[in-house]
Point group: C3
Chain length 363, copies 3
């Protein structure tokens, strides 16, 4: 059996511990705030409730499944799942044996049900024998500190925190309760709120990229600010967030930052911003609330991005963006303009166009 052939497992028990179930339809309706819609005659909850989750084509009578995309409606017609999470428009496709959990937000409901069956691993209070904890650090007794973690002087680790193997939390850093810090993360010069998650290998709080040009060499500018990660922030793997030079670098509550993202010194993100992988935000730029920066986009420094603005993938933003604007391209422009440009250029350079002729003179 090749590795690829092994792939069809859902929630491989080597990696994912299932909660003690089963769960009844009522429990699922309750946590999802969704409605158990009257089934076609014969639809019925399996005795003892639902025991697992599965893709719609693989689910059985005691499994919960989910359909969001109209393209796969035929799978719903044929499913053997015992319960499906769907929008109301799909109810008529639900087979007789199947219960429908109806909600305008099926993906959110699915997410909650999946989390019910597969909760985050419980934090197991205690400090691994190999961890290095400074005597002046204050570590909540309910926190879990893994192998070779380093907790520096005067660090505070809140209740229920998980600190992964090889994480380094440097002098003075404060972590609010319920944080989950991945392996190999380093955090310095930072104040971290509650329920903040950082995936492995991210770098928080190091010096920013700032220097003055001296007579014979560059001279580093002291970075005397901090990083502030507000509550419920999540940061991906191997991202870098530099601390401020005079002001702080701030990531607003609930914001989500993906892998390999660069956040420069003094940058401020508002609440619930989204920054997708490999995007970069240069120093002192400000994002208001609910801004989305797509993958590989880059923002120059010292600009302002208005509330709910959306910056497209690979976009190069060189100036302020108004609230609720959608931009794309490098340099950034409104989405419509970008695609108009693409279309015009394609037309002009079409084979046979006079502009595309090698020897034509367009003067």
């Amino acid at each position: 059996m090749t590795l690829r052939e092994r792939e069809a497992v859902v929630a491989d028990p080597r990696f994912f511990a299932k909660a003690k179930g089963p769960f009844s339809a009522d429990v699922l309706a309750d946590i999802t705030q969704a409605e158990l819609v009257s089934r076609k005659d014969g639809g019925d909850e399996p005795v003892g409730g639902y025991v697992g989750i599965a893709p719609i084509q693989a689910a059985g009578i005691r499994d919960v499944s989910f359909l969001d995309n109209r393209r796969y409606l035929s799978l719903l017609d044929q499913t053997r799942a015992g319960l499906v999470i769907i929008k109301s428009a799909f109810v008529k496709h639900v087979p007789d044996h199947c219960v429908a959990l109806v909600t305008p937000e099926p993906y959110l409901a699915w997410s909650r049900v999946a989390r019910l069956f597969y909760p985050y691993p419980a934090v197991v209070p205690g400090v691994h024998a190999t961890a290095s904890i400074a005597p002046t650090a204050v570590v909540a007794s309910s926190a879990q500190i893994e192998a070779f973690a380093v907790i520096g002087d005067n660090v505070e680790v809140g209740a229920g925190c998980f600190i992964g193997s090889h994480a380094v939390i440097s002098e003075g850093v404060q972590l609010g309760q319920g944080c989950r810090i991945g392996s190999h993360v380093s955090i310095s010069h930072s104040l971290v709120g509650e329920r903040v998650t950082i995936l492995p290998g991210s770098r928080i709080g190091q010096d920013g990229f700032g220097f003055a040009v001296g007579p014979t060499s560059f001279e580093s500018v002291p970075h005397l600010g901090r990083v502030i990660l507000e509550n419920d922030v999540e940061i991906g793997a191997n991202s870098t967030i530099d601390r401020g030079s005079v002001n702080d670098t701030i990531i607003g509550a609930g914001s989500r930052i993906d892998n390999l993202v660069q956040i420069g010194h003094n940058v401020r993100l508002g609440r619930c911003c989204i920054v997708v992988s490999q995007a970069g935000i240069s120093g002192s730029t400000v994002l208001e609330d609910y801004v989305t920066i797509a993958a590989q986009a880059g923002l120059v420094g010292h600009i302002h991005i208005g509330t709910k603005a959306r910056v497209g993938a690979q976009c190069g933003v060189m100036s302020n963006i108004e609230a609720a604007q959608d931009v794309i391209g490098s340099p950034a422009m409104p989405v419509r303009e970008f695609f108009r440009n693409v279309a015009v250029l394609r037309k002009l350079s079409k084979k046979g166009s006079k502009f595309a002729q090698n020897n034509s003179d367009v003067e």
Copy 2:
């Protein structure tokens, strides 16, 4: 002596251990499957065989060298090397004293000869005293586990594996035989084939970037898939490969991924794909076999890239690519079209063109 002046060493013995040689021309012909071409009169193998490798302009009579590029043919005319690896077309430039090893793939042959002289450091079986190995882990007795490595519960480490310092192999992960895992690598929720190499600092198997929009905040979607790295996969430094949400993230056998690459959840790569540094592949996108993604390219999610397609550097791919297509640009387009666009735009905006005049009206 400045650092820069010290640079002319080949295979600095501080870092590279040379195999016990010397090696005869026959041995070299055998491992490269190349042909020892009859030399001009007087060409002869040095007594005792070849003792090392060197650049063509620095090699001596007991060294092996290599020439692939026509631009440097004059160096071949003048070389003092005892043996050169070349294409047949270059044979007439080989000096009298020199043996020619002729092959249609001189770079491949050179690579094998260089590896013969400088093999991978041998794996030294044993577990470093500082490593942390869970009692339930199964570590082959022929594996080498370096300082401060962490091997979690129920992990399986195959025969002849090398696990670098500070690597963290989390609960349940399986590593086939002959894997080389660099320092500071983290692997979780993953099944790893045989002879897989991962350079320092890469992150394999963490949560992907997925969340639903809840009434007051984002809610993380459980990631219940895995990462599967098939046989002979190589992954560079500080790259990130997220595990799947429901399906697995799969890197097909023999594929090569460079540094700082992002692979999103549920992505599947076929056999022998190449992904160059700082490229990113968004969630659920599928690459068939032999696809090449050049540096800093970005692919949106949920698209399909056909066999042997090649995506150029910095390309932004927003839709499916047919097999064997070469694309470039952002948005991606056929290579010819891209350069035609560039040429047309240059022409139109040339100084003096009516389109480039500030006050011209093009309506």
Copy 3:
């Protein structure tokens, strides 16, 4: 109090230790080589000297502040700072109570004053009890080695070096005096000069991305070169610098590399180059002295970038760049041409333009 409200602190004492002051105006003038300009009547140095630094709007009579940007001149008029570092053109805005330290380079002067008040943390000689030091390593007695650091066989660590927690310095590596190596850094196959700084998580000296196409699979090309980091180089967080294949990868003296930068095998940077975050330089490309590569730019391999050339953000460089050229765009072009192209394309695709009409024929 929310985290965000806590932000107004300058140099939070949890993270930054202030030097024993106070410092007199003469001392400040001396280290900045600036001139204490005669104040308007009444300006005077506070008894006992200056005790701290602060932003211009928050500074008090015993604080030093700084103004560089004409936009904020009104803040200078109203400042309560005891001393301000400014250009001569701003002197007339300095209030009566305030001393002006006048220099053509106020940012450089400010940087030095800030460093005087907040020097780098002193290196505390000694080896942490948990560090793993090979018996054959030579570690200067004045060096500081932090928790879980790994120092391999025959490594040399110079006087006054700081080696952060979890750093791995592999066999044979040499570090000159005064280097500061961040946590989780890995260095192998490298010669490192004096006063080199590497921020957390960077990877120096691993194998480059090179392989030959074999009959059934890719075959890795041995990387027998090194990385050479000359004196005063600084490297950001989570960057990757691959060692050379036959030649060395060289970063010239005084060069500054930001976070998440990729430097391929055999690349050579001259003196005082700047490479901003998420930029990538492909194999064997050469940068002369004083080259600047802005964020997210990408350079193909085997090209030559002349002295003082500047490559703009997100630029895609596919061929040589002359000395002192400024380029931008993908593919790279002179800055003027790039913006002319943008303007022409905007004009052509303007609503109403015949080129933007869907059905127009441009042949």
